[in-house]
């Protein structure tokens, strides 16, 4: 069984929460759990309740979707030091993509209901978590826009 101290250390060391205030970290620890996912297994599925989010500690995973008659489409890959999942922040809290472990995956998961409750009760925590999510969302959006440009494709000319 992983000790509370260990969870706190993992939160501290992960780039996403680096430098967070100790009091807020203690609140986070209460909602956190260590998980491992075998390669090929799903962390979550499109449409399912988004009841958690994850700090990726080790390994990599693919954000996927699928379309009839086509092989699985990988939208983006997420690896060590990154986070996965922000559907838990937006009602009605359902995953919009599949997330599948490409390698053995070690993650720190946070219970969404637990965390949302604490964030509502403590706006300082709420602000701190959102403040760290927004740049990630911004980067993902910019990256997606770049991907849409199909930069390396042959253009009509």
């Amino acid at each position: 069984m992983v000790q509370i101290d260990d969870l706190g250390r993992i939160i501290d060391e992960h780039p996403f929460f680096r430098g967070i205030d100790a009091k807020l970290r203690a609140l986070l620890v209460g909602c956190a759990a260590n998980e491992r996912v075998e390669a090929g297994k799903y962390l979550f599925r499109q449409g399912a309740p988004a009841d958690s989010f994850y700090l990726v500690r080790h390994g990599s995973l693919a954000i996927e979707t699928h379309a009839p008659g086509r092989p699985v489409i990988t939208v983006e890959s997420v690896g060590e030091g990154e986070i996965i999942g922000w559907s838990w922040l937006v009602a009605p809290y359902r995953w919009t993509f599949d997330a599948r472990a490409v390698t053995l995956l070690r993650v720190l998961s946070f219970d969404a209901t637990c965390l949302r409750g604490k964030m509502d009760a403590d706006p300082v925590l709420g602000y701190e978590v959102l403040r760290r999510f927004v740049p990630v969302m911004g980067q993902r959006l910019a990256a997606t826009r770049l991907q849409l440009l199909d930069l390396y494709g042959k253009q009509k000319g």
Partner: protein, 277 residues
């Protein structure tokens, strides 16, 4: 009256030694001339002439330490490059050059070196990679960050795999789109900048790829803390003479063929954002 120089618009004739298919639309030509070797600096380009079809600027993709043969990697995107794609060993190609500014590999000695390449933009950077590897001990960390459209579009794949197998080199590859089996990264090349292990305070970066990709790559490098006076980019414009005299490749005050293609980012930061310049 001064003696007039030889006409710089006259090509030197080279024989095609080898043709290597790289990707569906991209191939590498190895050329040799009776007239001896071909010295060049990493990042420079030549004007290549295919008989009757025309002339195009193509960067040199070979090893500057091996000037015995001349290596060009070409993507068939128009009539001239398609004609080049039909060349066979023994055929002739006209060559003028080398032209343009090089990657400042030696200036980067003592720094970490980050190479950011997108698509076929890896070709003009390969000579710099060869040169860096030949002088590996003179650098701190060396990272190659490469983005391609899909796993099938990864240029120099075997070489990238070899490089990745070295202990003194970080090679990160990502692709924009995937369907099917691919265990690697998916996402734009700029994401790799955040992941790579270099010390931004002492890093020189070489960037080559489509212009939009370069803008974003420079942006990510700056965000990591790399100083803009240590970022270098390679520009593409309509080079027709290579000599700064036909006018076509003008970009602001620069002739890209003569003042570039490799620019110090600081020199061109103001031009980079101007549309249709």
């Amino acid at each position: 009256m001064i003696a007039l120089p030889a006409d710089p618009m006259l090509p030197r004739l080279f024989d095609v030694l080898k043709v290597k298919r790289e990707l569906a639309d991209t191939f590498t030509l190895e050329l040799k001339s009776d007239g001896g070797g071909f010295g060049f600096q990493a990042g420079q380009f030549n004007m290549l002439y295919a008989f009757g079809a025309g002339e195009v600027p193509i960067s040199i993709s070979g090893d500057p330490g091996k000037p015995g043969t001349l290596v060009h990697t070409i993507r068939a995107v128009g009539a001239v490059t398609e004609a080049m794609g039909r060349l066979k060993p023994g055929d002739t190609l006209g060559v003028r050059g080398p032209y343009g500014t090089p990657w400042p590999v030696e200036q980067a000695f003592g720094d970490d070196l980050v190479i950011v390449a997108g698509g076929v933009g890896l070709a003009p950077l390969r000579p710099a990679i060869y040169q860096a590897l030949a002088n590996r001990e003179k650098f701190g960390r060396v990272s190659i960050l490469y983005g391609a459209r899909s796993p099938e579009d990864i240029l120099f794949r075997k070489e990238l795999e070899q490089w990745r197998g070295r202990f003194d080199l970080e090679v990160l590859v990502t692709v924009d789109r995937v369907s099917g089996n691919w265990g690697g990264n998916v996402g734009v090349v700029t994401k790799l900048v955040a992941k790579a292990g270099f010390d931004p305070m002492d890093t020189t970066a070489f960037v080559c790829g489509p212009e939009v990709m370069m803008r974003f790559a420079v942006d990510s490098l700056e965000k990591r803390g790399v100083s803009t006076d240590k970022i270098h980019v390679s520009m593409e414009r309509n080079m027709k003479c290579g000599l700064g005299v036909c006018g076509h490749c003008q970009w602001g005050p620069h002739f890209v063929c003569r003042d570039g293609p490799v620019f110090h980012f600081d020199e061109i930061a103001g031009l980079f954002s101007v549309r249709e310049l």
